[in-house]
């Protein structure tokens, strides 16, 4: 399978990057073709530009060649994996902006003759979220996990009906022990090794 792993964390030596590397190595070991998109390392901008917004409903909605390459990978992928720290109950700005700029018309969805949105990601068979949280799980549930909702509901609505969703979360990370972190890395390994 074609697997695209998107990681959004500013620090290259972060636990988030360790998670992404583990996800990539486990999927590769299982024989999948894996592409890692490190949004910060690639210098992806979180802000859709006025030019991009103007082009959005036209024939060529994606203007940035880096984003266009990412869109091509998404179009060819079977599995999308998102690795990020949850900030203010949702994805970091850079990942939100990447979704807006990559998941453009013709990639994630198309407008039909009546101007209604129709799914474009019918190639995606599985969406996997891997996130760390500063808050305990109960608090995340209380304020709502909006990053998870964005990826497993809003994005999921644009895939096929049979697309599966998996969510792996490490909660209360500030007080997590080294053993808990290692166990979470192993969980990511098992999940990605058995896609």
């Amino acid at each position: 399978m074609q697997v695209v792993v998107v990681v959004a964390h500013p620090n290259s030596d972060s636990f988030g990057h360790a998670l992404a590397e583990r996800a990539v190595s486990a999927a590769a070991r299982a024989g999948h073709e894996v592409h890692l998109l490190d949004l910060y390392a690639l210098g992806v901008s979180a802000a859709m530009t006025a030019e991009e917004h103007h082009a959005y409903h036209g024939d060529t909605p994606i203007l940035d060649p880096v984003i266009a390459a990412h869109a091509a990978l998404v179009r060819a992928a079977d599995t999308l994996v998102f690795v990020y720290p949850t900030w203010w109950s949702t994805v970091p700005a850079i990942l939100k902006g990447w979704l807006e700029r990559t998941m453009a018309p013709g990639v994630a969805f198309v407008f039909d003759a009546n101007g209604k949105v129709r799914p474009g990601l019918t190639n995606i068979r599985c969406i996997v979220g891997i996130s760390t949280y500063g808050s305990p799980r109960a608090y995340v549930k209380l304020v709502n996990d909006n990053g998870r909702r964005t990826l497993t509901r809003a994005l999921r609505l644009n895939t096929g009906l049979r697309t599966r969703r998996s969510w792996l979360g490490l909660y209360a990370i500030d007080t997590a022990t080294a053993a808990q972190r290692a166990a979470f890395l192993d969980r990511v390994d098992r999940k990605m090794g058995s896609l």
Partner: protein, 196 residues
């Protein structure tokens, strides 16, 4: 009242820009003291940096770039967010303003060894969101209304305990009529003029 309007849209000719103008007109007609942060026009950088992440608990005076934004946030009694809803939430640019400005020492403090943060914005008594959605209210409900919950829960818990939220949204904008859009803009202006 002291009102901070945070506006986020890349295009000056957008419907969101019209909503901002009508909100400002209403606020001024209501006699409020208004400050505006126009994130695109001011060239706000939305990506939290590696340094900021590593030093996320450092005092805000170590982050001079966010100084004016943080000062406005700590000054206002009403926060008005004007933005288009994209992928069920705030645009990356506005999310970046939250990521970078709502930091320790401005919006919250995290005592040693605690998992729960303590709010630091008791000055904010009301949060207003003025937004448009391409999709219908039903689709937004299916998607879980992430953007709405970020405003009414994630941000609200950092403000005054009695903070109220006002949600002014136009759904299904892509298929709305001119009359519906005009009615929405009139509602925005009226709600801002009558703000208490």
């Amino acid at each position: 009242m002291k009102v901070l309007v945070v506006y986020c849209h890349p295009s000056p000719t957008s419907f969101t820009a019209a909503a901002r103008d009508r909100a400002l007109a209403g606020l001024r007609a209501g006699g409020h003291e208004v400050r505006l942060d126009d994130l695109y026009a001011e060239g706000f950088v939305p990506e939290l940096s590696a340094w900021e992440r590593t030093n996320h608990l450092a005092p805000p005076d170590t982050k001079p770039y966010i100084g004016p934004y943080a000062a406005n946030l700590c000054w206002c009694e009403v926060l008005v967010l004007v933005y288009p809803t994209w992928w069920a939430g705030q645009p990356g640019m506005l999310k970046g303003w939250i990521d970078r400005v709502w930091v320790a020492g401005v919006a919250y403090e995290l005592p040693d060894g605690a998992n729960r943060i303590r709010p630091m914005l008791p000055n904010i008594r009301r949060i207003v969101a003025i937004t448009s959605h391409g999709s219908t209210k039903l689709v937004n409900a299916l998607e879980g209304e992430g953007g709405k919950r970020i405003v009414t829960r994630s941000l609200r818990v950092l403000c005054n305990k009695l903070t109220r939220t006002t949600w002014i949204a136009l759904y299904n904008i892509d298929r709305s009529s001119l009359a519906e859009r005009e009615a929405f803009l009139a509602k925005v202006e009226r709600k801002m003029r009558e703000l208490k």
